[in-house]
Symmetry: C2
Subunit: 188 residues, 2 copies
Amino acid sequence: MTTPRAEQRRNTEARILTAAAGIFLADGYDRATIRAVAAAAGVDAGLVTYYFGSKQELFRRVIDTAPVPDLAESPGPASEQILAALAGRLTDEPAASLAILRSVLTNPEAAEAVRGGAARYQSQITQAIPADDAGLRAAIISAIMLGITASRHLIRSDELATADPARIVELLRPCVAALAADPEAGRG
Amino acid sequence: MTTPRAEQRRNTEARILTAAAGIFLADGYDRATIRAVAAAAGVDAGLVTYYFGSKQELFRRVIDTAPVPDLAESPGPASEQILAALAGRLTDEPAASLAILRSVLTNPEAAEAVRGGAARYQSQITQAIPADDAGLRAAIISAIMLGITASRHLIRSDELATADPARIVELLRPCVAALAADPEAGRG
DNA sequence: GTCTATACATTGATAGAC
DNA sequence: GTCTATCAATGTATAGAC
C-alpha cells in the first residue's frame, strides 16, 4: 500500500490539471485564481505554483490537454465530417476546449492556441474543398462553429442551449453544404 | 468664451466614455483598468470613479451607447436584411459593440447585455421567418453572426480579417437563405 | 470641477517549516 | 511532498487639497 512519491505527484498533478480546466472554463483566465484552482483540487495554493511555476504555465498545460478535432475520423463528404465534429461538441462539453474559448478574448496565450488549433482545423477543411477560395470558406465554417459552440456552452443563449443537437445539425446542414460544396458543380 | 461647468462636465464625461469604449475593446473588462481609461481620456483616475461611481457602472454606460442593429432599415427579404446588417458590421468596427463582445465571456454584465441585445435581434428575425421553428433558426443565425464578427475583429483570424466584406457576405448568402427560408416552400 | 494621496483588498509568487 | 507565512505588485475606491 505504499504510494511512491513520483506516482503520488502524478496523481496530484493530474487532479490539479482537471480542476484548473474547470476553473478556467467557469471563470476565464483573468478571473481564475491559483487559490481557486488549489481549493478545487483540494491542495494548497503554494503547491500549484510549485508544480507549474506560474499561472501562465498552468494554463498552457491545460491547453495541451485539449483535443484537436480530427475530421478524418468520420466518413462521408467534407460537409458531413464537419457536421459530425460539431455534433460531438454540442452534446458533451470538452472542458479544456471551452476553457480556451472562454479565455481567448482576454489571454494572448489562449488566443494563440485558438489560432493554432483553428489553423490546423481549417487546413483539413481547405484540403477537402475543391474551390479555389477554399481558405476563406474554411475560415467561415470555422467561425460558424465557434459562434455556435460559444453561444450554446458559454453564453448559454436560451434557444441554442436547450435545443436538441440533432436539430441544430440538421438546420446547419444546407448551410455547411453550401460552403463546402464545389462552386463549379452547379454551372457546367 | 466661458465654458459653463455643466457643459464642461458633459464634455469630459463624453471623452471618458469614448476612451472607455476603446480600452474595454482593446483589453476586455477584466484587464481594462480605470487608470488606463483615465490616461486615455487625459484625466485623472479619481475623476472617473467620481463621475461613474464604479468600474461596473462605467461599463454599463458604455454598453448603453452600443447601437442595436435594426433590420427594418434595409429593404428586401429577411435574409437580405440580415446580410446587410452583417455587411455593416464587417466594414466598420463599432467600438462599443465590440467592447461588449470582448467582455461577454468574463463579465456577467456584458453577458446580460448580449443576451438582451441578441433577444431583440432574434425576435426581429423570428418574426420575419415563417417557419414554426423560427426561434431556433434565428438563434443559429445570431450565433453565426457572432462567430463571424468575433473571428474578424477580435481573434483576427487571418483569412477572415483580411477578406473583402462583400465576398464574405456572398459566401454566406446561401447559408443565411437556407436558414431564413420557408421550409414549406420546397415541398408542396 | 479637477487632481493628489492613500486606505483597503486581492493576487501571484517565494521561502521556509513540517 | 505538502502546507504556512509572507512579500511585492496591482487596482478599486475614497477623502481631502487646490
